[in-house]
C-alpha cells in the first residue's frame, strides 16, 4: 500500500482544517450584542456618502415595493420594548414602536408621540402634551393611558425585565426599590419566604400607587401626562423616550407573565411598520402602518432577513438585499460600485482595556498613563479597522454630543514618555529577560479577553507586543464571553481585561464608574472628584450648564484612566442606491426616515 497517498491526504486535510479555524475565528459570533450595551444607539457628527452620484436623486416618491434589510444574528423574538435584551430584537422594535421622544439630526431629544413637552421651573416635573392623531396598528387610539401603563409596568414588582433602575428618580420610586432590594436580600438569606417577600412588595406597590405614584406618573387628561421626580435628574428624559406599549392589549394580563403574552411575540405598536410575522432564524416581515403619524410610508413591505455576514455582501451585490451593515475589511468589496452607497458614522460604543486598581501594579496613575502611551492605538485603527474608527481618550467617543476634542488632546504612542512615567513610578530595574522589576517583582500580568468580536480579539496580541517594548510582560488568556463577564463583574477580579461599552446619549455614565456598582467594582477605581462632578451633572437639565461639568469630568477621567481607553469603531452601512430612494443619511443612520423612502419603480 503506497503510504505517500495517505500522507498527502492527511496534510491536505490538516491544511484546510487549519484554514477553516482561522476563518471561523474571524467571523463575528452571536452573543456579542449583550456586550455592546445600548442597542440601536446611533452615532453623531458628519456622515459621509462615499457613493459616486450621491444618495439623493431628484425624482418623485412612488408607492409600493418591498425593502430587504439584513441583520447578522437572529432576534430572539422578544419584540417587547420593556422586555427585550438584545439589539436584534431592538431592530424590529424600532420599526414597530414609537416613544414619546426621538432624536433629531444633532441627536437631541425632540417630540415623536408628543406635540410638545416642558420642564417645570423647579425641574421636578416634565409635562408631555400627546399627539391626538396617533393610532395603534389595530386601530385603537393612542392616549395617556398607554404612557402610564408602560411606565407602571416597568415599576411593577412582578415586571420580568431589567429597566426598573432607570426610573428610580420618579417620585417615591427610589425608596420603594430600596425596600425591594432589602426584601430580596432577606429572601436570598433565607430570613423570609418568597411568598412573604412578594406580599410585602405588592403591599408597598399598592401604597405607592395610592400615594406618590399618583404624582410620579399622572395622566391629567387623555392627552397630557406629567412625570414628577424627587430630585432633578437629567438622564430620566432619555429614559422616558423608550417605545411605548398599548395599554388596551395588555390590560388585565398579569405583569409577571408579560413575556408569555402573545403581543410580546406579535407586537402591536404605533411605529411606521406593522408586524406581520417572524419566521424564527429566517426573516421578519413587516407591512406599513397606513395611519403612521409622521406620514404614510411609501414602501409597502419590509423583509428583515437574518443573513450570514460573509454571504450578505454577495446578496447585496446580487440585489437580494438592499441594506447590509459592513465590517471595515469588507468595504473594498463594494467600494466603487455605482449602485451601492456607503454611509459611515461614528458609533456610540468604545473598546477599553480594564485594569484592576486593587492590584499594586496598576494603583499608580503614572503606570496607567504609561500603558496608554505604550499601546499603538493608531495602528489598531489604521490596520484592524482600516481607518473606520477613531482613537478614544475619555469616556465620550467621537460620535457623542459631549465629545470635546479641544478639552482632551489625542495621545499618540510615545515610548520615551511611557518609560519616563514608569521610571518615576519606581520601575527602574530590569530582569534577565529585559522586563521591568521593582522591589524584586517583575511587571507581569494576565490579560483576559473574550472570543467573539474579531477586531478586539486581534488587539490582544498587539497590546502584548506593544507593552513588551516598554518592559511589561503580558500573558494572554482568551475565554468565552459569558465566562469573561462572570470573571470581571462577578467578583473574581482579574488583573486586566478587554471589553466594550455602549454609551448613552445622555452624558451621565450611569453606574459604570460608581465604585459601589458591579461595573465600578470591577476596576475598584474611586474618585471623590468624579463622584461629585457626576452628581452635580445629573441634577442639571440645561445642556449649556452641563457641558462644562462633563468637559471637566471627561478630562479627569482621561488623566486618571480608570480604564485604558482604546478606540471607537465606526458604523458602516451599505445601501442599494438604484433601488432605495429618498435617503437622507445623518447621525441617526441611513434609514432613520424609513417612512419617507421609496423603491425605484424600474428596479422592483
Amino acid at each position: 500500500m503506497p503510504s505517500w497517498k495517505r500522507i498527502v491526504g492527511i496534510i491536505a486535510v490538516a491544511a484546510l482544517q487549519f484554514g477553516c479555524v482561522l476563518a471561523t475565528l474571524s467571523a463575528p459570533l452571536p452573543g456579542e450584542a449583550a456586550a455592546q450595551g445600548t442597542p440601536g444607539a446611533s452615532g453623531h457628527a458628519r456622515t459621509r456618502a462615499e457613493a459616486p452620484g450621491g444618495a439623493e436623486r431628484q425624482d418623485e416618491p412612488v408607492d409600493g415595493g418591498t425593502l430587504y434589510l439584513s441583520m447578522f444574528s437572529a432576534p430572539r423574538g422578544v419584540f417587547n420594548p420593556i422586555l427585550m435584551e438584545d439589539g436584534y430584537d431592538a431592530n424590529i422594535v424600532g420599526l414597530v414602536f414609537a416613544g414619546l421622544l426621538t432624536r433629531d439630526e444633532r441627536l437631541e431629544l425632540i417630540c415623536d408621540l408628543c406635540e410638545s413637552y416642558s420642564v417645570s421651573p423647579d425641574q421636578r416635573e416634565v409635562t408631555f402634551r400627546l399627539r391626538k392623531d396617533v393610532t395603534w396598528h389595530d386601530g385603537h387610539p393612542f392616549t395617556a393611558r398607554d404612557v402610564v401603563f408602560t411606565f407602571q409596568a416597568i415599576l411593577h414588582p412582578d415586571y420580568p425585565g431589567v429597566l426598573t433602575g432607570d426610573y428610580a428618580a420618579l417620585r417615591g420610586v427610589g425608596a420603594m426599590l430600596e425596600q425591594r432590594a432589602a426584601l430580596d436580600r432577606a429572601q436570598a438569606g433565607g430570613r423570609i419566604s418568597a411568598r412573604e417577600a412578594a406580599a410585602q412588595k405588592h403591599a408597598a406597590w399598592q401604597a405607592w400607587l395610592d400615594g406618590d405614584g399618583r404624582q410620579a406618573i399622572r395622566a391629567v387628561d387623555d392627552h397630557t401626562v406629567v412625570f414628577a421626580v424627587d430630585e432633578p435628574h437629567a438622564p430620566l428624559l432619555q429614559n422616558l423616550a423608550i417605545p411605548l406599549l398599548p395599554a388596551h392589549r395588555f390590560a388585565g394580563f398579569p405583569v409577571g407573565e408579560m413575556g408569555q403574552h402573545p403581543d410580546t411575540r406579535r407586537p402591536v405598536g404605533t411605529g411606521p411598520y406593522r408586524f406581520v410575522r417572524y419566521v424564527p432564524d429566517q426573516y421578519v416581515e413587516l407591512v406599513r402602518h397606513e395611519a403612521y403619524h409622521r406620514g404614510r410610508p411609501y414602501i409597502e413591505r419590509i423583509i428583515y432577513r437574518i443573513a450570514n455576514q460573509d454571504v450578505a455582501i454577495g446578496q447585496l451585490l446580487a440585489g437580494e438585499l438592499d441594506y447590509v451593515p459592513l465590517k471595515p475589511g469588507d468595504v473594498v468589496l463594494v467600494q466603487g460600485n455605482p449602485n451601492i452607497g456607503l454611509f459611515t458614522r461614528p458609533d456610540l460604543g468604545y473598546q477599553y482595556l480594564g485594569l484592576n486598581h486593587r492590584n499594586p501594579l496598576f494603583a499608580d496613575r503614572r503606570v496607567r498613563q504609561a500603558i496608554l502611551l505604550s499601546i499603538d492605538r493608531e495602528g489598531i485603527v489604521r490596520h484592524l479597522l482600516k481607518g473606520y474608527g477613531s482613537l478614544l481618550e475619555s469616556h465620550f467617543p467621537r460620535g457623542h454630543p459631549y465629545h470635546d476634542p479641544e478639552a482632551i488632546p489625542t495621545r499618540r504612542r510615545d515610548l520615551a514618555a511611557a518609560a519616563r512615567l514608569l521610571a518615576e513610578a519606581g520601575w527602574t530595574g530590569r530582569d534577565a529577560e529585559g522586563y521591568l522589576v521593582k522591589d524584586g517583582r517583575t511587571f507581569r500580568f494576565t490579560l483576559v479577553y473574550p472570543s467573539g468580536n474579531a477586531v478586539r480579539t486581534a488587539t490582544a496580541p498587539l497590546i502584548q507586543a506593544d507593552l513588551k517594548a516598554v518592559g511589561i510582560r503580558v500573558d494572554l488568556q482568551m475565554v468565552e464571553f459569558a465566562t469573561l463577564a462572570e470573571m470581571v463583574f462577578g467578583g473574581r477580579q482579574p488583573d486586566a481585561w478587554l471589553l466594550g461599552w455602549g454609551v448613552g446619549l445622555d452624558p451621565d455614565p450611569g453606574p459604570v464608574f460608581d465604585p459601589e456598582s458591579r461595573w465600578g467594582r470591577a476596576t475598584g477605581w474611586r474618585s471623590d472628584r468624579s463622584a461629585a462632578l457626576l452628581r452635580a451633572g445629573a441634577r442639571l437639565l440645561d445642556p449649556a450648564k452641563r457641558r462644562p461639568l462633563y468637559r471637566e469630568w471627561a478630562r479627569l477621567v482621561a488623566e486618571e484612566l480608570p480604564v485604558i481607553f482604546l478606540y471607537s469603531q465606526d458604523q458602516i452601512e451599505a445601501v442599494r442606491l438604484d433601488r432605495v430612494r429618498g435617503l437622507r443619511p445623518d447621525a441617526r443612520g441611513s434609514l432613520w426616515n424609513i417612512w419617507e423612502l421609496w423603491i425605484a419603480p424600474e428596479r422592483r
Binding site: A74, L83, E85, D184, A194, Y283, R305, I306, E486, W519
Partner: protein
C-alpha cells in the same frame, strides 16, 4: 428479538437518568449563568438579582435538578430564560428543517459513499480506485463552510444563479402544500450538498476496507468456484457482510443528524438546532441546554439500539435471545 428490544428499552431509562444528571452537572458547573452576559449598565442590578432569585439560579444544585426532573416527567421542559418561550416550542420550530437537512445530506453520503466504496474495493489498485479515493478525500478536505461559499458563488449569487442563496423558504411568500415542499426542496439543495459531500470520504473508506476484507474470505472463493456470476458474488455475498460496520456508523450518526451543523446552518441561514444549541450555550440558557442535550442523549441511545437491531437484519450470525 422482541424480548431483546424490550429489555434494551428498559435499560434505557436508568442510563438516561444518569446521563441527565451528568449533563445537568456539566452545564451548571460552567462559569456564569443566563444573566452574567448581560453587562449593559442599563440593566438594573437589583432587578437582575431578583430575576435570578425568581429562576432559582442560586438554589442548591440538587433542588434545581429536582425542579427540572419533575417538570420533565410532567412533559414540561421549562421556558427559555432568554427567548421567553417554552423550550419545546423553540426546539419544535427548528426540528423539521434540521431533520430535512440531516436526512438530505445523509442520503448524499449513503448514495455516493457506498457505491464509491464498492467500486474502489472491487477495482482495487486500478486508476478507478485512485480516482475515487482522491476525489472523496478531496471532498473531505474541503471544509463545509468553504464548499458552501463556493456553491453559493457557482449556483446562487454568481454563476448560474438558479438556486436561492439562503433560508428554508422564500421570505414573505406564505406557501402551503406542494408549493411549500418544492420551495423548501429548492432551498435544501445547496446546504445539503455542502454538508453531505464532506461525509462521503469517511463512509467510502469504511465500505472499501470492509469490502476488501470480505473479498479475501474463503467463502467468496467458494462462491466464485461454484460458478456464481461476479455480480451476485459482490452484491449478495460480499456486500451484505461488508455493510455491518456501516450499520454501526449510521446508528451512531443519528444524533449528528438531529444535532444540526452550525457552520452550514449559519452560511445558508438554515433554521436549525445547531445554531440554537450554540446560542443557548453562549448564554447559559439552562432549560434549553438541558432539553437539547437530553434529546441528544436519547438519540445516541436509540441510535445504538437501532444499530444492534440492524446487525441482526444484515448479519445472519447475530441472533438476540
Amino acid at each position: 428479538m422482541a424480548g431483546f428490544i424490550v429489555r434494551r428499552l428498559l435499560q434505557l431509562l436508568p442510563t438516561l437518568l444518569l446521563a441527565s444528571v451528568l449533563i445537568f452537572l456539566v452545564i451548571h458547573l460552567a462559569p456564569g449563568d443566563p444573566y452574567s452576559g448581560l453587562i449593559d449598565p442599563r440593566a438594573d442590578p437589583a432587578k437582575v438579582e431578583e430575576l435570578r432569585l425568581r429562576h432559582c439560579l442560586d438554589c442548591p444544585l440538587p433542588v434545581r435538578y429536582w425542579r427540572w426532573l419533575s417538570g420533565a416527567f410532567r412533559g414540561d421542559l421549562g421556558t427559555s430564560i432568554r427567548f421567553r418561550v417554552p423550550v419545546a416550542e423553540l426546539i419544535g420550530d427548528r426540528l423539521g428543517p434540521t431533520l430535512a437537512l440531516g436526512a438530505a445530506s445523509e442520503s448524499i453520503v449513503l448514495l455516493a459513499g457506498i457505491p464509491f466504496g464498492i467500486l474502489a474495493a472491487v477495482r482495487r489498485g486500478t486508476w478507478v480506485d485512485t480516482l475515487v479515493t482522491i476525489v472523496s478525500l478531496g471532498a473531505l478536505a474541503i471544509p463545509a463552510f468553504f464548499l458552501g461559499l463556493l456553491l453559493l458563488r457557482w449556483f446562487s449569487l454568481g454563476g448560474l444563479q438558479i438556486l436561492p442563496s439562503a433560508g428554508f423558504t422564500t421570505p414573505g411568500t406564505p406557501l402551503a402544500g406542494t408549493a411549500l415542499f418544492l420551495d423548501a426542496a429548492r432551498h435544501l439543495i445547496l446546504p445539503a450538498t455542502a454538508l453531505g459531500v464532506t461525509g462521503i470520504a469517511g463512509l467510502m473508506s469504511h465500505v472499501r476496507s470492509a469490502m476488501l476484507e470480505v473479498l479475501q474470505q474463503d467463502y467468496l472463493r467458494t462462491a466464485r468456484a461454484k460458478g456464481l456470476p461476479e455480480r451476485v458474488v459482490i452484491y449478495k455475498h460480499a456486500l451484505r457482510n461488508a455493510l455491518i460496520p456501516v450499520v454501526t456508523l449510521l446508528g451512531l450518526n443519528l444524533p449528528a443528524l438531529v444535532g444540526g451543523a452550525i457552520i452550514t446552518e449559519s452560511i445558508f441561514q438554515w433554521p436549525g438546532i445547531g445554531r440554537l444549541t450554540y446560542t443557548a450555550l453562549l448564554e447559559r440558557d439552562y432549560p434549553v441546554l438541558m432539553a437539547l442535550n437530553v434529546m441528544f442523549a436519547v438519540l445516541t441511545l436509540v441510535g445504538s439500539l437501532l444499530a444492534d437491531i440492524g446487525y441482526a437484519v444484515v448479519d445472519p450470525r447475530v441472533r438476540f435471545e
